[in-house]
């Protein structure tokens, strides 16, 4: 039987310096130094003010037949912005059925950059992602659900649906000597794409379940040819991106539709743009038919669109805000070393690893809250941008939450990294310089594009600046030719992988700091 008085006085069972008490003590320390609270507040204000100011100052309008309208984006079934422009020769298909064609040739023309200003320079050729194939689509409305199997100029046979989904078949294009057979079969909600070199032996390319496919769909042949992309690098860094007109023409024959097909072939230049008069199509597609052979010319692309502002473009003040967070987090520990106060901390919490952990918890939580407040710029700024007529690429609520929470986590991880460096270096200015050199400088170098793109990609994979990837709201699409550069908002690592790299650095630094604190004399 235990004597209660012994229990009361035994120092081992007091337990009053439990970890929550240490965390509370560190929080009291933090909130009672006005400069630190002001620094964290400044970080939030910087991000919010810079973001909202730039959003408020950004206006856009688009012309439609001489009338100014807000810029609208076409969206696909998943809500993402899409480009949906192609020439479609189609007929109605009710219920299950299939369509088979042979693609005999694919030719086209590409407008090259002008050598003499104002003089068009057009050459024969097809761009790598020029597409010719068969499609079933929920009508001919832009952005409607679809599934398609196609040959491309350079990327072989593909099965795609609902803009973002893409499956590769066999490689190789078509030429008059070696045609390609394509077949698309509907069974309920499932579409299966086939390909064949001779029309007898068929290979499955892939299956698709488009989001909204009604019983009656439009089935037929389509051709599209995305613009050609030229990236020229400036003398002082930076890049200018030029997209030029291209068109592709494909010849189809052996066309066979099975199932309850209705009417005759009709055609639509889906998504065509009009000249200023609002009637004349700009770069129209066309088609001819003779003896069961269709020659179809198309312009545009059926793919996700990455043209437009991104919600994270309102985070232009994030780097400045992070510098403030770094300074505060470093001072939170280096000021104690400078004043000899760290000894007092260790007197109160002699188990040193826990003392440091409590500090990290507090600085991480404070920075997370500050980052969360700052990241509210993203939804607010996007609202302001849209109200000003800007085309902001829509993202899902989940993505928006991920960006907001990710920026908060990024801020917290940077703060913990800064705290640990402060504990390792113990000199405030040196620690701030070190952390800024690890986090901010690589990001500035990357986005200022003074370095070769490959160097920049490695910087954003290997340094703590990889964490900035967490703010990327629109992914890079393999099936869309684009200039995917960090200054354009594309990071080499996926968002959470980039954040994980940063967290790895923070954890490593924290462990080293704890080891240093535990080992030495205070």
């Amino acid at each position: 039987m235990t004597d209660p008085s012994t229990v009361m006085t035994d120092p081992t069972t007091g337990g009053r310096d439990g970890f929550p008490h240490l965390v509370r003590a560190e929080w009291t320390k933090f909130r009672t130094v006005r400069g630190w609270v002001a620094g964290m507040t400044l970080a939030v204000v910087l991000v919010v003010a810079l973001g909202l100011l730039s959003a408020a100052g950004s206006h856009a309008s688009c012309g439609m037949g001489g009338v100014e309208t807000a810029c609208t984006l076409t969206t696909g079934p998943g809500g993402e912005a899409v480009s949906d422009r192609f020439f479609f020769v189609h007929r109605r298909l009710d219920g299950d059925g299939s369509i088979t064609v042979r693609v005999d040739s694919m030719t086209g023309q590409i407008r090259l950059p002008d050598t003499v200003p104002g003089v068009r320079r057009v050459v024969a050729g097809v761009v790598p992602w020029a597409k010719a194939g068969i499609m079933v689509k929920d009508g001919v409305r832009e952005g409607a659900s679809y599934a398609a199997v196609m040959v491309t100029a350079r990327h072989g046979v593909r099965m795609q649906h609902d803009f973002t989904e893409d499956v590769a078949g066999r490689s190789g294009g078509v030429s008059p000597g070696s045609p390609r057979w394509l077949r698309l079969t509907r069974s309920g909600g499932t579409l299966t794409g086939y390909e064949s070199v001779d029309g007898r032996r068929w290979t499955v390319v892939g299956t698709a379940r488009p989001a909204h496919l009604p019983a009656a769909v439009e089935a037929g042949m389509f051709v599209a040819s995305p613009g050609d992309l030229t990236v020229s690098r400036g003398d002082l860094g930076g890049a200018s991106v030029q997209v030029r007109f291209t068109e592709a023409t494909a010849v189809f024959d052996q066309v066979r539709v099975e199932g309850r097909a209705g009417g005759t072939w009709s055609h639509d230049d889906v998504g065509v743009a009009y000249e200023a008069d609002g009637r004349t199509p700009h770069h129209p597609g066309r088609f001819t038919e003779s003896g069961g052979a269709f020659a179809i010319t198309g312009v545009g692309d059926v793919a996700p669109s990455v043209d437009g502002m991104r919600i994270e473009s309102t985070l232009s003040g994030l780097v400045a805000g992070l510098v403030a967070v770094i300074v505060v987090a470093v001072l939170f520990v280096s000021a104690e070393h400078r004043r000899g106060l760290f000894r007092t901390t260790l007197l109160a919490a002699p188990r040193r690893g826990r003392a440091f952990a409590a500090k990290a918890v507090v600085v991480g939580a404070v920075a997370f809250a500050a980052g969360l407040a700052a990241a509210l710029t993203v939804p607010l700024g996007a609202r302001v941008l849209r109200a000003n007529g800007n085309a902001v690429l829509p993202v899902s609520t989940f993505t928006e939450l991920r960006v907001v929470a990710g920026v908060a986590a990024l801020t917290a991880a940077v703060a913990v990294l800064a705290l640990a460096c402060g504990a390792l270096v113990r000199r405030g200015a040196a620690a701030v310089a070190a952390v800024a050199g690890l986090v901010v400088v690589p990001h500035i170098l990357a986005t200022a594009s003074v370095l070769p793109p490959e160097v920049v990609r490695w910087l954003l994979r290997l340094t703590p600046a990889a964490g900035f990837a967490v703010q990327q709201s629109v992914p890079e699409y393999a099936q869309v030719l684009g200039y995917y550069s960090p200054q354009g908002g594309y990071y080499p690592l996926p968002p959470l992988a980039g954040l994980a790299v940063l967290c790895g650095y923070a954890a490593l630094a924290a462990v080293l700091a704890a080891v240093r604190i535990r080992k030495g004399d205070a």
Partner: protein, 312 residues
Amino acid sequence: MRAAIEVIGLRKRYGRTVALDGMSFTVLPGRVTGFVGPNGAGKSTTMRVILGLDAADEGSALVGGRPYRSLRAPLCQVGALLDAAALQPSRTARNHLLWLAHSQGLGARRVDAVIEQVGLGAVARRRAGGFSLGMRQRLGIAAALLGDPPVLILDEPVNGLDPEGVVWIRGLLRSLAAEGRAVLVSSHLMSEMQDMADHLVVAGRGRVVEDTSVADLIAAASDGRVTLRTTARTEAMEALARAGARVAVQDRDTLTVSGLEAGRIVALLGANDVPFSEVAAHRASLEEAYMELTRDAVEFRATIPRDGTATS
């Protein structure tokens, strides 16, 4: 009686400098133990080892029978004042004590109590950066008292205090000891221990030179010497030397005589017609006793100590 602090054979060196060279002593509850010695004797290093801040190369230091680092709610076991300047200047006095209190699971009421106890109530909500050294010492003592600990360790607490403050701290430490607490106070000035310490641990060159009560130390240093005031210095010295006494000149008309009792001296001087104005048994000051003890132990250092502070 159970020792509140046990220091057992501590050794520590910084590079080639020996800071502690077998330091051993105990501190008992219920009295003020003075820890004195010249700068560089190892007092502060010993205190840091007791408090788990520095690790000794050899030996151990226990508080209440346990190493400091194993204590739960340590500020409720040991209160310490090491460096009164260790403050965040922009934090108020009260908030400085508040975070310490929170770390031990104590509340704001205890903070307000100790802040009144040390006489800083009026400036509790002022930034500590504006405090004088004396006010900082009081704040440091408030921090030491925060957990109402049975053991107190104070490094040079009298530094920077005005005379009123010195009187105050003497009274405070004596009353804390009277409550049954163990109080260890260091100083490089023995005079500060007068009327404050009951027991003395005298350190020199990293070890204990003397571990004794204040009364015994003074008696030993006085060693039966007699102070003689006379206008006939030469005659007096001759007469006393003939009788076998050792005589030292203190100034023009004062001699210190040892080896003869005061009565014999009076008789001898009378017999030899040597005039004198005063014969008194010499009572050594604590300072003299200390000088005697540490004469060999004083170590003058050309180098600045590692942590750059002036005290050791």
